[in-house]
Symmetry: C2
Subunit: 211 residues, 2 copies
DNA sequence: AGTCTAACCTAGTGACTACTAGGTTAGAGC
DNA sequence: GCTCTAACCTAGTAGTCACTAGGTTAGACT
């Protein structure tokens, strides 16, 4: 993933671009937007800073493209798994498992997406915008499944949004924790998410809720 | 809260220090550690940058003191509310309500604590250290209550830690969302947190869990 | 072998950062 | 009213940042 050859070799545009994207994803994941410098991204992909600008108009442009790519990948995970005629619980469990499998296979992509952008309000607005479009697409999937909508969106719009916030909080929290505890098997993380989210939703819907 | 007088007035040390802390909390909440500049903190508290250094040794020192203060306040909320002889569900509900009441009354403190520090690994390590000590204190409260320990820590150490991660994710997620939807009444946010967390835990413990 | 594109470089610019040395002055205490 | 502390200032330093103008050269293609 991290290229860097000792006797510096010339690459074609696509390969070099990919190496810059890899290095940038890793560094954005490790340090966030402000903490990741173009100098360091260039160094890690084995070139000097001007080369980065041969491929991306600005740091902001580079960041946005990566955001969009990784969010699209995670969105795809939902679209491919949250379908079928089986019971909602099964579909949710399958989606969670696939979601954490993506996180496991792409350790830096998730960390980059879930990090705070901290600092530049422009970057923050961009992050929110891209995240919101992803959220909309996934919540659209929920809404298409009448059974699930009944469970999640018990109080229409705002209830659905709060359910999303709760789910995002749990999935993000577990994902970030899992990065630091890689020895924990995925099934255990998925089971924790299911117990935290699905059992509560189901019971709440059954009229056993708190408030 | 934001001082700034038109005809600049001289303050005594304690007052000026408080005005700097207020401005810094707000700016750290809005922009994160890296995005908040000493120049801007000074400007918002009505002085020039050197004055900040009359009160704090460095930006890092200022940040740490604020972290410790606000974490201690939230820790106090738990200590004062998660006690008593009433059923665990009541104690959790009371604690959540008090926790969100603090968030409501101190809109910037929470945002500062829950923001990513993004960038300087030194600052990140500091944030983790202070947060971990707060987590330890609160988890100690849980462990002192045998009923609750039975529910939360069903699989000993790691289970307790994962339960903490889930709870933190939900509370933080709801808190950050609530900042942007202040018209939502606190009782609704608390009820959502209770339904998401307590109902799931209780049922999971009762053997109705997923995995 | 010669050509020419594009991958890559050196050497900067200007803006911003945390932080400081040393001087000025408001205003409390006598 | 005078003094003297400390609250506050001006005017910097050195480092880092994103970004660029313009030149060099590897290596694909003929």
């Amino acid at each position: 993933m991290n290229v860097e050859a000792q006797p510096r070799k010339r690459m074609n545009a696509a390969t070099r671009r990919a190496s810059i994207e890899d290095a940038a994803t890793t560094l954005f994941a490790e340090r966030g937007y402000q903490g990741a410098s173009i100098d360091e991204i260039a160094r890690r992909s084995g070139v000097t800073p001007p080369v980065v600008y041969d491929h991306f108009a600005s740091k902001q442009d580079l960041y946005r493209r990566l955001l969009e790519r990784h969010f699209a990948e995670l969105r795809g995970v939902w679209r491919e798994n949250f379908v079928g005629g089986d019971p909602p619980g099964q579909r949710v469990a399958r989606s969670f498992d696939a979601w954490f499998a993506y996180i496991e296979a792409h350790p830096f992509a998730g960390r980059m997406l879930f990090r705070d952008t901290t600092g530049d309000p422009k970057i923050e607005a961009m992050h929110r915008e891209v995240a919101a479009s992803s959220r909309g697409a996934i919540m659209g999937l929920f809404a298409d499944q009448p059974d699930v909508e009944k469970v999640i969106g018990s109080e229409v719009e705002q209830g659905l949004e709060m359910a999303w916030i709760v789910m995002r909080g749990v999935l993000q929290g577990l994902a970030m924790w899992w990065y630091e505890h890689p020895q924990v098997p995925r099934e255990r993380v998925v089971a924790t998410a299911m117990n935290a989210l699905w059992v509560g939703w189901e019971r709440t819907q059954a009229g056993e809720g708190w408030g």
